[in-house]
Amino acid sequence: MTGLSLENLSMRFDLPGGGTVQALNDVSLTLARGELLSVLGPSGCGKTTLLNIVAGFLAPTEGVVRLNGHEVRGPAAERGMVFQQGALFEWMNVRENVSFGPRMAGRRERDWGAQVDHLLEVVGLHAFKDKAVYELSGGMQQRVALARCLANDPDVILMDEPLGALDALTREKMQSLVLKLWKETGKTIILITHSVEEALLLGERLIVMAPRPGRIHREYRLPFADLGAAEDLRCVKKHPEFALRREEILSMIWDMEEEIMGRTEAAT
């Protein structure tokens, strides 16, 4: 079978001072090839833990992740990752960063050169390919990170708040770019975000997670990602259903945050 499946994932940490934290409790999820899932939730709901398990950086205490039928046991090139920031190699120039995956796989430049240059063109950085990455703006750096991930041609792309550190305007442009790349490449993408708007705009599917223990609270199927690929993102935001969903999810997360605050206050 093709696609990504998360089967009954649970994650418990032992705290140094004694006691345990249930970061994830029995999370199950199936993603078909080419689906884009956005993950929302208040801080501490286990979003990043979930992503790290799928990437293979963490082994779950229970459950298993399967990609195309085989079990995930560690990081691999088939599951690419885009971080919030600071994950570029500043001792390499833009093109060296983007071609890192193919070069590490031992492939010759004549095999990857055209593809890397094409990706640089797609993310609009061809003119900057010989620049040092620390000379680029934050938005451009995230374009490099996207291109670097795509150059490796992974089956799944995991994004951990990739646009979180960008200003609003750059963020909007990058959201269009992510949508465009998703449509063009047909990759399976899991996107973690703090922004309800971003989750709605980009997610073909959306899950809202709840904390303590981390679990899936609600799941949605959304039409906006398809709309967004066709028209301007700003028009999508004016859609009445968009506003409705946004309010619904915002108040849901708001309630969760309130509950956490209440619980902490009661404890003290």
Binding site: G80, A87, L88, F100, M104, R148, L158
Partner: protein, 421 residues
Amino acid sequence: MTVLLIYLVVFAASFALVRLLVHRSLSGMAARKTVTFGDESAVRPDRVASVLSVLTIFLLWGAFTGSHWVPGFLHAPGPFVGEARFTYTAEADGLPPDDATVTVAVSPLGEEAAAPQVPEGEGWAKDDAASVTAWRSGLIRVDENDAAGRDAGHRVVAVNDEPISPGGAVQTPYGRVGMSPKGTLTFEPAKGWQMEPIWLPAPEAVVARLVEIAQNGYRDSTLWEHLGWSLWRVVAGFVLGALVGIPLGYAMGLSGWFRGWFDPIVEFMRPVPPLALIPLVILWAGIGEAGKIILLFLAALWIMCIAARSGVSGVKISKVHAAYALGASKAQILRHVIIPNSLPDIFTGARVAMGVCWGTVVAAELVAAEKGAGMMIMVASKFQLTDIVLMGIILIGGIGFAIDVLMRWAERVLVPWKGRG
């Protein structure tokens, strides 16, 4: 004390003067900043102050050594030179007190002056003449030409009409007249404010000595051999220390067993100053080249090891994760992520290590060496060749500074991404 006061006055005066005369027009953003006190980025070193600072040091040095490079009116008062005079009053058994004059020719340093010819004068106490060199003192046996000598109970009771007794002294305008416990007069001409060349030679004397040693060498080796040996020891010790320390630091940053095993050793050896190891190294390896290189190796080893370890620990986990997710192997991550990421830390460590090694080699050569910058100044100090000592200190300082500039330049060229992660 006086020198410090003069220095502070020069500091304050030049500040006020430069403020008054130079109207600096700051350019760029800094000119428009209204808050500069507390804004570190608005503080730029004033180069006029730097130039004045260096000039002041040389000016004070020249003024207090009577240098030809400093105009005469700036000289501090020098030692008295010329003819000094004082009178003494003598008594002897059965004779009335009588006065006589002593004329002392004070010659400049390095010149031998003859005692002037003076008439004997009147009375039983005759006038005397003597000679003494500036900054020195001389015994003056005033009784020798008097009509009544020591055997007749000759004793001096006053100088310039001020009473004097054995062990006492009288200040005259020309210097100090003292009396030894046995009653002999001593004359010490006024020293002024200048330093005697044997303690602090004038700048031109140091330059002249530098030229002389650069041409003729010192203690069977040329100047360049002395400096070259010191530098060679530093480079050899540093390279060996880096060759062992950096891999050790990497191992400690990457493996719990290595860190556990070497942590106690490194943490214990790090605070031990290399100078404290000199006696042990001499005991074990002797005073030859091996001992010095072992010492410098040890000085560089811990610094480089700790720098490499912190370079590895400082790698952002997201970079390592990204590399793994791009399919890199452990060896590739070491080669393409961990090593380049640690280079800025290693360069910082290398700068510190070179500085420490340079200081340590000089100290080691002070203890025992045949050649080297430290040996040069140590041997010179034993013969009180202060000019060579000063020359050596200036050369050592200059080379240390040059090493640091070179390392900073290399850092800028080789790791331009430093601090940009």
